[in-house]
């Protein structure tokens, strides 16, 4: 029987933070421990109201810092609870040592992170420097293009994190202000559908299981097995590629909105391709579609999953392309290597016999706007690279005053 997704979905107008809070309400986690930070504040504020109004059964722990928020989340998750928190920027930075502990202990904590630039100079607006810095912490990272995806990703994140072959924490990323504070039209699935999709969390090992005493976080030194545990984490990350795809398909079946590792426009006939993640993907898509109507052989990829990095899948999708431009909303300060997405894609393509030419555009740091004119500039330069076969400048700063 065909599913009528119109019956399942309710169209609403919400800011991104409220869209995430709605997903949290439907998930109804056992414990949420969070500390407010711009532009994440509205998520936990709205959710705290839901707790106060009795709309969820969550035990809400108002902590005194993000370090405490993640510590409480780790404790609650070890005890066997389904746990969420949320943060942004400096808050994520303050969680740093706990991020590794959450992933190292294999705790399926889900955390929306509203992307905001890291100080200094102090800046509250969007770039991806905060979560990109956390790319090696062993967390799965899902980027969102708009409020709809932030909501959808949050529901899926819980399933991915709690999958028995994964058991890794998941960060759901949404661009500060652009997504978090702009009212967007989106569809929410029915509470029953969401709850059924997310399911009940049944941890295999948990500290409050009196019949099976468990030791969590034991010392594992020079003669221990630290190395082996890190290899297991890497294996879980590798396994997560398929799980993320399966969960994305399953979510599509219940909501009408399927998800994959990335999505694309015009790859079948494109000679050159722009790659973007986050809210910029909307601007890039709009411009790419416009240029395609004019007959230009351009395409785009919107990267959704940054951790695990879908290297094989991206290499296959880009096989035979003449040139690829990677848009990075953060820099690595590696001294000319470019932004993180660029560095990783460049590495992913190394084994390919016919590598496309690669160029990097770092843009939008500290919330600097990305108008279509700038995307057009990058697309035009990319077209010239594809035509001439030459990259004059590998790393470029798009929208920088120079």
């Amino acid at each position: 029987m065909a599913v009528n997704f119109k019956d399942i979905n309710k169209t609403v107008a919400l800011v991104g933070t409220d869209a995430v809070a709605e997903a949290m309400r439907q998930i109804d986690p056992d414990v949420v421990a969070a500390y407010p930070i711009t532009p994440q504040t509205a998520i936990v504020e709205t959710f705290a109201q839901m707790v106060a109004d009795g709309k969820v059964n969550t035990n809400y722990v108002p902590v005194e810092s993000e370090h405490s928020a993640m510590s409480a989340a780790i404790g609650a998750s070890s005890a066997g609870a389904r746990v969420m928190t949320a943060t942004a920027s400096q808050g994520l930075a303050l969680m740093w040592e706990l991020l590794y502990i959450a992933s190292g202990l294999r705790l399926p904590i889900v955390m929306p992170n509203v992307n905001r630039a890291l100080s200094a100079p102090i800046n509250i607006h969007c770039d991806h420097g905060d979560s990109m810095g956390a790319r090696d912490t062993g967390w799965i990272q899902l980027f969102s293009e708009n409020a709809q995806e932030a909501y959808d990703n949050t529901l899926q994140a819980m399933r991915i994190a709690e999958h028995k072959d994964i058991l890794l924490p998941v960060m759901v990323l949404l661009d500060g202000f652009i997504i978090s504070h702009a009212i967007d039209r989106l569809d929410l699935v029915d509470d029953d559908v969401a709850k059924k999709f997310v399911g009940q969390y049944k941890p295999e090992d948990y500290m409050l299981n009196a019949s099976q005493p468990l030791c969590v976080g034991a010392f594992d030194g020079l003669y221990g097995y630290f190395f082996e545990f890190k290899r297991q984490q890497e294996e879980a990350m590798r396994n997560s590629v398929k799980v993320i795809q399966d969960v994305g398909k399953e979510y599509g079946a219940v909501s009408g909105r399927p998800y994959d590792l990335f999505e694309s426009v015009g790859l079948e006939d494109a000679e050159y391709v722009l790659i973007a993640l986050g809210s910029a993907a909307g601007t890039v898509r709009s411009e790419v579609e416009c240029l395609r109507e004019q007959g230009l052989p351009i395409g785009m990829i919107k990267l959704r999953v940054f951790r695990p990095f879908p290297a094989k899948e991206l290499a296959a999708a880009l096989a035979g392309k003449k040139a690829v431009a990677v848009m990075d909303r953060s820099d690595t300060f590696a001294g000319g290597m470019g932004g993180p997405v660029f560095i990783e894609l460049r590495s992913a393509l190394y084994e390919e016999e016919k590598r496309p030419l690669l160029v990097n555009y770092v843009y939008g740091l500290g919330g600097r706007d990305l108008p279509v004119q700038l995307v057009n500039q990058a697309a035009t330069e990319l077209g010239e690279i594809a035509k001439s076969g030459q990259v004059k400048q590998m790393v470029n700063y798009l929208g920088l005053k120079e």
């Binding site: 190292g104 202990l105 294999r106 705790l107 058991l167 090992d205 099976q212 005493p213 468990l214 030791c215 969590v216 976080g217 034991a218 594992d220 097995y225 190395f227 082996e228 545990f229 290899r231 297991q232 294996e235």
Partner: protein
Amino acid sequence: MNWDIKDIKDWDWRKHPRGGLIRDAGNAKKFKTGGWRSARPLWDEEKCVQCLICHIFCPDCSIKTKDEKMTGIDYDFCKGCGICAYECPHDAITMIDEAEARKKEEAEEGRA
């Protein structure tokens, strides 16, 4: 649960419980830590009045007892902190140099 870790040193990385979890909790006694010791407490049973103050103060439960009486010191876990010797009201415990004590023991073993 009886967690057989006899050959754990040879385990493939896949065999370890995820995330360093220990499903057989309370197994610290299988992991002998006395090797850290640089000073060794020596117990003089003659001087001991069985007040068990050392037992109360020992941070590592290394004072062995049976039927509410001290029977010796557990060198598998004693780390040589010296609290027992410091607290003993009858100087029944004295601290000696661990390395020298071991050298002596090895020499004796060699003779035997």
